[in-house]
Symmetry: C2
Subunit: 338 residues, 2 copies
DNA sequence: CTGAAAGCGCTTACAG
DNA sequence: CTGAAAGCGCTTACAG
């Protein structure tokens, strides 16, 4: 069936150009791609016919013929999540400057469907970037070898592919150290979604802290990853007796700060509050939110980099780790004496 | 060239399955697609070979053969912008449930490259969604007919395609009315990026307000669309003598509110401040930000709806308009008497 | 119910 | 420098 645009006009193909120019399709292909030498006057004639007819090669046909699509896929659990949006943005920027497009798939947080989505996406593209904080390690290990070149983002366990991660544990340690230096000895962490990679890393960081500072009491409360979860944790946070609270992320911390303000729990005089991620709003609260900055766009760029590296040489799994940096603002201060 | 995955193993094709099953490729195709009738025992044999070999049809080959890709493209000026992220999320959700994928292209705010990006994207997909607040009307009118089925988001001028818009002017009018009801008679609007469609619509809304309330003074200051722009507008806002300020968006309004707090300009006692968009952080500021809520995910879903409508019937341009709704929080209050 | 053949729109050895 | 031919992996009238 001839390709048609929706106006019902058949699209112009390489055959039309060949016929109009009085040459073979091979020759047209050569002038379009500029790789083999074509007699200048013929090339000129072909070019003018291309312009006159408005010919553009079909990427689909080229993909089938060449065996590559110049497209990479990216799977995320939730496009509505600013974290993945930032990573996607970074990937997209980097890929675009190399002439690649990115095809996104939102798995809707469904960890069971994810392997199938990853495979399907891979069939439509030259490589995949997998951001799947919830997928089980077994699923990941089963699916990754089938879809290389691939890069896995934010998974701490070894996988048979390139990997780029954020060192969340180091971020928590830096934050904890800051609080200890301010005199805090009873710190509460509001946990994120159970089973998520980020939460597991926070737990590791908290354990490191507790081990490093024997006189430090580290408490944990189940909470979540949203503003509403932070708001809902207010009573438990106050009842914990902690002098400093670390939210799983900035949303949680800001939600908690909002409730604290409403209930006269002063920040940082009565309690220090810190977040994680350094979203753009972190500096807008009063006081500004102490947090840890994660260069998510760089993570996306690094993911692309790992892919293009695999395109060039067939080498396997390399590894990039990004260390978050502490950003101190007004929401953390000295612990009250006594 | 045989398609290979990056392990160097050739991918399994329909021919392999046909040979292994002792039938023709046509028959394999039939059982894969389930459309024509195949003798049950043969179908069973083919299915088991498919499972054994791990065969999956190539979407690229199917696309070339069928003339459709089951993919739609979406062009946005900046993926980093939460507005487009939300629209994309809505599109993606709706498209996914219809078995379509979405291919995103970020034009990097370059209005000159956009027409080419739109055309290229369209060649790889079955339709395009164009979110190009800056592209000139002429460019838009030139490119759209070449890429139908298409839908244009947030452009107020007529275009030869389906269109879905947010009625920004109505939003501003609702906000202005609210302020007038509170007694404000001198209102400042902090303008967004010149030339953007949203800014043009705000200007229309402001003019409507001025016309509706003859004793109302409507001031405007060039500003921008970011937190930093809102912060930078503080001095000019205070100097304007306005009793109420409307930010181009919530970011601007929050930036302004932050500076106001620092300088002892009390909200809403000394000045009322309102934003636009109702981002998730709008209710987190103290006081909460009065703003106008825009259902961006619904806009995305409607864009998909307009496309699938065009897939079904070849009919042309329909139109959907979303009216923002006023959300009153604590940042706006009565104007001071006198 | 099934297969041989042509076609989708390209690219690229291979000959000349 | 150029063309005829085969191939990429599918689908679908058309015959039988």
């Amino acid at each position: 069936m001839a390709r048609r645009n929706a106006n019902g006009r058949a699209a112009v193909t390489i055959s039309h150009v060949a016929e109009a120019s009085g040459v073979s399709r091979a020759t047209v292909s050569r002038v379009v791609n500029g790789n083999a030498s074509v007699k200048p006057e013929i090339a000129e004639r072909v070019r003018s016919e291309i312009a006159r007819l408005g010919y553009e090669p079909s990427p689909v046909a080229q993909s089938l013929s060449l065996g590559r699509t110049s497209t990479v896929g990216m799977v995320v659990p939730d496009l509505g999540n600013p974290t993945f949006q930032s990573i996607l943005h970074g990937v997209n920027q980097a890929a675009a400057s190399a002439g690649y497009r990115v095809l996104v798939a939102d798995s809707g947080e469904s960890d069971v469907d994810e392997p199938a989505i990853v495979e399907d996406l891979r069939r439509r593209t030259d490589a995949v970037i997998v951001c799947s904080p919830r997928m089980s390690a077994e699923s990941l290990n089963a699916v990754i070898p089938r879809v290389v070149p691939a890069v896995v983002v934010n998974r701490d366990e070894p996988v048979p592919a390139a990997r780029v991660v954020v060192d969340y544990a180091a971020g928590i340690v830096a934050l904890g150290r800051h609080l200890v230096d301010l005199g805090h000895r009873r710190i509460l962490h509001l946990d994120g979604p159970p089973g998520s990679n980020a939460q597991a890393a926070r737990a590791v960081g908290l354990a490191t802290l507790a081990h490093t500072y024997p006189d430090l009491v580290v408490l944990r409360e189940p909470c979540g990853a949203t503003i509403a979860a932070g708001e809902a944790a207010f009573e438990r946070a106050r009842a914990s007796g902690a002098t400093a609270v670390i939210g799983f992320n900035d949303l949680v911390a800001l939600g908690l700060m909002g409730r604290a303000a409403e209930h006269g729990w002063r920040v940082p005089d009565d309690v220090s509050i810190a977040g994680f991620d350094d979203i753009p709003f972190a500096h807008l609260s009063r006081p500004g939110l102490t947090t840890v900055h994660v260069a998510l766009e760089s993570v996306g760029e690094a993911a692309w980099g790992a892919l293009s590296h695999q395109f060039a040489e067939a080498v396997g799994a390399d590894f990039r780790s990004f260390t978050p940096v502490l950003v101190v603002r007004g929401s953390t201060g000295p612990a009250l004496p006594g």
